[in-house]
Amino acid sequence: MTYLDLLRDQFNNQVSFRERRPGVLQLVAPLYHEDGDMVDIFLEPTDTGRENIRICDHGMTLMRLSYYFDIDTPNKERIFQRILSENRVIEDKGNLFMDAEPETLYPSVLQFAQAVAKVSSMQLFKREVIQTLFYEMLTEFIEDFLKRYNPRPKVLPIPERDDLEVDFEFGIKPRPIYLFGVKDSSMARLTTISCLEFQRARIPFKSFVVHEDFENLSRKDRSRITSAADKQFISLDDFKANAEQVLEREAA
């Protein structure tokens, strides 16, 4: 029994093979991406001289991913490499592959398909998806690391104005700190209005703003909020790196 017969048998005859180039077989198996396209898996001899079989994708997984998502930052690259290593998959110039002995081809193919699915799901890390997690991540950080500054969520400094809400109040004396999370222009404008209204009401406070991406705001929005707020963090990473030190100074 050849390894192909064995694999066909193990897949309960639900697979076939198509020769795409001499010696390069494409596995036709009921493994599909979300858009209905078959997962691209190729079987070919290894270049090691042994009788192992190389399971690979000839760059198709990264090509598909690139329709919607680029691995263009060190952080994305780190996650990508971690997915590969945890699934024993190697990348060579975009080609994802793993070598398997003929008798372990079936579980290896399934493992490879799983790695392809995980790499493909990296498109969920797209900015617009991650952005929706901005407030969750901000809240998590405050609750985990800034508890000693007595954070209180969803505070209304002017009780009759429930449209002017502060995301967190830190009970620091003599003046509390009102912290606003800002992920886009509309939140930047609301924060600007809130700060100005609190000032007009002569409420003693200091305002901190944590931006999801300060540079992403328009020039006018940046000017307005810079004029109204006391302290700004240009990103969540900036806040995470400096919040403790800044709050400690305020509390001193």
Binding site: V28, D35, G36, D37, M63, Y67, K93
Partner: protein
């Protein structure tokens, strides 16, 4: 998540568009794929789109050209149309049976979006093109880009007839009908522009 009617999707595909950020003259090679992109706007400037063009380095017949719509009032994109090479099997609609290695087109369907699936899930095989270049010409015509000659003059020449079966038309209208089924053609809009 926002839903769309099929008429909305069809009109997003067919509305007149202009290239606002043209593709690079040469495709960029990266990790096994030749890549290029461009951005488009509707002619009235109200709608934003992006186009990706990809060719696999090892199998040049494995290519993909797609149109993504970026709604201004919502995060994320919706893939409206994707023209693919014969890279493998694909599901011909959902949940119908699978089709074989053919050039194929993914077109967004309202029922997919409504069901929380990928809008472009499922594909139909096509004989409207048989190479990357033919597919790009077909794609740009289908999505109604009106200033192609300004940025992609090499594509302005008329498409050569394909080797379609004798009983199937290979005029542009015939091809459109063959591939995209009941989607209305945009010839009236093009006449208006001229």
């Amino acid at each position: 998540m926002r839903t769309y009617s099929q008429e909305e999707i069809d009109s997003l595909v067919a509305c007149a568009k202009v290239i606002t950020e043209p593709p690079k003259k040469e495709m960029r090679w990266e990790r096994g794929t030749r890549r290029n992109n461009m951005t488009l706007q509707s002619k009235d400037g109200e709608l934003e789109f992006s186009v990706f063009m990809r060719i696999n380095e090892d199998f040049h017949e494995n290519f993909s050209i797609g149109l993504n719509y970026s709604p201004r009032d919502e995060r994320g994109t919706l893939c409206l149309l994707r023209c693919n090479g014969p890279h493998g099997e694909f599901l011909g609609g959902f949940p119908s049976s699978r089709s074989h290695f053919r050039y194929h087109v993914h077109l967004a369907k309202a029922e997919n979006v409504e069901a929380g699936l990928r809008g472009e899930r499922g594909a139909e095989s096509t004989e409207a093109y048989a190479s990357y270049k033919d597919a790009l010409v077909f794609f740009l015509r289908e999505i109604n880009v009106i200033n192609t000659s300004e940025y992609l003059p090499e594509l302005s020449q008329p498409m050569l007839p394909l080797n379609l079966p004798e009983n199937e038309p290979h005029t542009s209208d015939g091809v459109r009908k063959l591939v995209l089924g009941t989607r209305p053609t945009n010839s009236a809009e093009k006449e208006q522009e001229s």
